[in-house]
């Protein structure tokens, strides 16, 4: 579990410190979107994210990047409630033949993974879509890279994506610069 603190507070943390996590969110269902499975997502954060049900019934989600299925790296085939899926094609400064145009990803970005089904694990499925949040940074190890944690998954037709460079956890967890600490995933 990765948690975010204000830099001044992070400076006072060290290995072995105990942190209480008030865990809530697993099992969250969206009655208006029965085909979409939601996981690892605090209801309060969901409410703060832009988008929502459109007049045509689809769920609008703002995303900072769209990820092609070719980018899915280490983590495929594993449970989507644990760990994350590393993305390839985001190796800054390396060869063009390694690039999938993902070098600009930022930690906290909300991303949409094409043809990816995370409802019951993590795998390729034509016509499905998974929304995730980039939770780790670059990794030079081949086949690894920035990794999204899963937030939602369902048929692509159930979603309406809006490209929005501001679609990042920081926009909703840290709306104003200031001393207040916010733990990613903790309820408000």
């Amino acid at each position: 579990v990765l948690v975010d603190f204000a830099e001044t507070e992070a400076a006072n943390l060290t290995a072995g410190d105990a942190v209480t996590v008030l865990a809530t969110g697993q099992g969250l269902a969206l009655p208006d979107h029965p085909a979409i499975v939601v996981k690892n997502l605090d209801p309060g954060l969901l409410a703060a994210m832009p988008g929502g049900t459109r007049p045509d019934g689809r769920l609008e989600v703002h995303v900072a990047a769209r990820i092609p299925a070719e980018a899915i790296g280490a983590g495929a085939g594993m449970a989507s409630e644990y760990a994350n899926t590393d993305l390839m094609g985001a190796y800054q400064g390396l060869g063009e033949d390694l690039s999938l145009g993902l070098e600009g990803l930022r930690i906290g970005d909300i991303v949409a993974m094409a043809d990816t089904d995370h409802r019951f694990g993590r795998g390729y499925r034509d016509g499905y879509l998974t929304i995730g949040v980039i939770s780790t940074g670059q990794c030079m190890l081949f086949g690894h890279g920035p990794g999204p944690s899963t937030l939602m998954s369902g048929p692509a037709a159930a979603f309406s994506l809006v490209d929005d460079s501001g679609a990042n956890l920081a926009s909703w967890l840290h709306p104003q610069p200031g001393p207040a600490a916010a733990a990613a995933g903790a309820p408000r």
């Binding site: 085939g77 590393d86 390839m88 043809d115 089904d117 086949g143």
Partner: protein, 295 residues
């Protein structure tokens, strides 16, 4: 590497007992299933059988070998090569001969094929000696940017792999423009590469999320087939590299789990211009039991 001589190493593998942490896994549609056939000794499944149509999870045609010491187990998986000779050392099948037919990931497993009569007499815990040889192989004529791995040197001539003429100097790479030709059952796009990406190719297999024959877009593959994956570089860890190609041997059957599927143990990887693929969906013949003298 030119002209260097390979050595062989005798390794000890212990026949694995299957293990589960819960009786059920969850398939790609959310249904629970019992993962029979995932590890251990699988009977009645042979090279040449379809990788699909089994009520099984990752079933491999033979016995899986492991080792109780993690470092020894990694060495077993890393050194063993397809085609290496194995001998059962203990138990009711002691003295039986077989061969390595592939490897699997996680903590490391070596899959060995034996005659069905011998497999039927084996049980988990039996000791099997593996004569490991092949890592680092660079046969004469192999283009300098193509890598062979996980392959016994004596098996190479029997596989549908054509090397450009060598210079006779014992492993010198061919000149620029030379290419290896490889007959394969099919070429899968990299987006179907699942579990195994980001893992070391000398000790893991790469699962391919292929659709079963009968499904729209599905195609059959057989255990032992050579299958290519486009845009995957498997020289070290496996990952995406445009215009690169990896060829492997199908070593286990399909899996109901999302992100999994028939798995290949990589044997060849290189730039697409130096590794020319010849797909043959109907007539392809890859690794066979006859080639390994398993009957």
């Amino acid at each position: 590497m030119t002209g260097l001589r390979l050595v062989a190493v005798n390794l000890l593998g212990i026949v694995e007992h299957p293990g589960v942490t819960t009786p059920y896994r969850v398939d790609r549609d959310g249904r629970p299933y019992v993962p029979a056939g995932d590890g251990g000794i699988v009977l009645g499944l042979e090279l040449g059988d379809s990788a699909f149509g089994l009520v099984a999870d990752h079933a491999a045609p033979g016995a899986c070998l492991v080792h109780p010491d993690p470092a020894s187990r990694h060495a077993l998986a890393g050194y063993a090569c397809i085609g290496n000779q194995v001998v059962v050392r203990t138990g009711a099948a002691a003295g039986a001969h077989g061969a390595v037919i592939g490897k699997r990931g996680e903590e490391g497993r070596v899959i060995v094929g034996l005659a069905q009569d011998d497999l039927a007499r084996m049980r988990p815990g039996d000791e099997v000696a593996v004569r490991a040889c092949g890592q680092g192989l660079r046969p004469p004529g192999l283009p300098s940017d193509v890598t062979i791995m996980n392959l016994d040197p004596d098996l190479l001539p029997g596989l549908p792999v054509g090397l450009p003429p060598g210079d006779g100097a014992g492993g010198a790479g061919a000149g620029a423009g030379a290419a290896v030709t490889v007959g394969v059952r099919l070429i899968a796009p990299s987006r179907l590469a699942g579990n195994g990406i980001g893992r070391p190719a000398v000790a893991w297999d790469l699962d391919l999320q292929l659709l079963a024959p009968g499904a729209a877009g599905g195609r059959d593959v057989a255990l032992g087939d050579l299958v290519a994956v486009a845009d995957i570089d498997a020289r070290y860890n496996m990952g995406y590299r445009r215009d690169w190609v990896t060829v492997g041997v199908v070593v286990h059957g399909d899996s109901p789990q999302p992100g999994h599927g028939p798995g290949i143990t990589p044997i060849l990887t290189g730039p697409a211009r130096a590794l020319r693929l010849v797909p043959d969906a109907a007539g392809h013949v890859g690794l066979t039991a006859a080639m390994l003298q398993l009957q």
